[in-house]
Symmetry: C2
Subunit: 96 residues, 2 copies
């Protein structure tokens, strides 16, 4: 039952990307910088994966040059509860 959830979260960068986006919308290169060591392809693949599951949405802003903003969908927003529990757990058991 939880298998479906784990499948969505599978992939090295899914959770880290979501963790970034719970803070609000971010652009491609902004995410890339925050995550530190993803390469463009890995990030691109991860974003498509999450988008295909309806967890994040991609919005093109027609500036010059264009910018693309990624943000959580309603479905993605509801995932905050999971992160919240992770945070609580981290506070309780870890130092950092």
């Amino acid at each position: 039952m939880i298998d479906g959830v784990l499948k969505i979260l599978s992939g090295k960068w899914s959770l880290p990307v979501l963790a970034e986006l719970v803070h609000g919308k971010k652009r491609f290169n902004q995410l890339k910088r925050s995550l530190g060591n993803v390469n463009a392809k890995a990030l691109s693949d991860t974003l498509k994966h999450l988008e295909s599951h309806g967890i994040i949405q991609r919005q093109v802003v027609f500036t010059v040059p264009v910018t693309v903003e990624y943000s959580l969908t309603e479905k993605g927003q509801s995932f905050r509860a999971v992160f919240h529990e992770m945070g609580r757990w981290g506070e309780q058991w870890n130092q950092e």
Copy 2:
């Protein structure tokens, strides 16, 4: 802050292994079968990783042949809350 948590959960099999162990203690090959497509090395590495973070514990039972039981530590038990939220999320948004 949540980074430490994600680090612990990193690795393809960490979450699936934990998902198995929340149901109770399991033996090595039992986990291997449940997870379907892990190979011994990957599972072994994952178990060591989780054990090193104090999330699961390894107990050797001196039968013939020996069996080794893996179970959640107190720290691991407290992670159930996270899985619980994942489950809720899955129920709300996914079919399976």
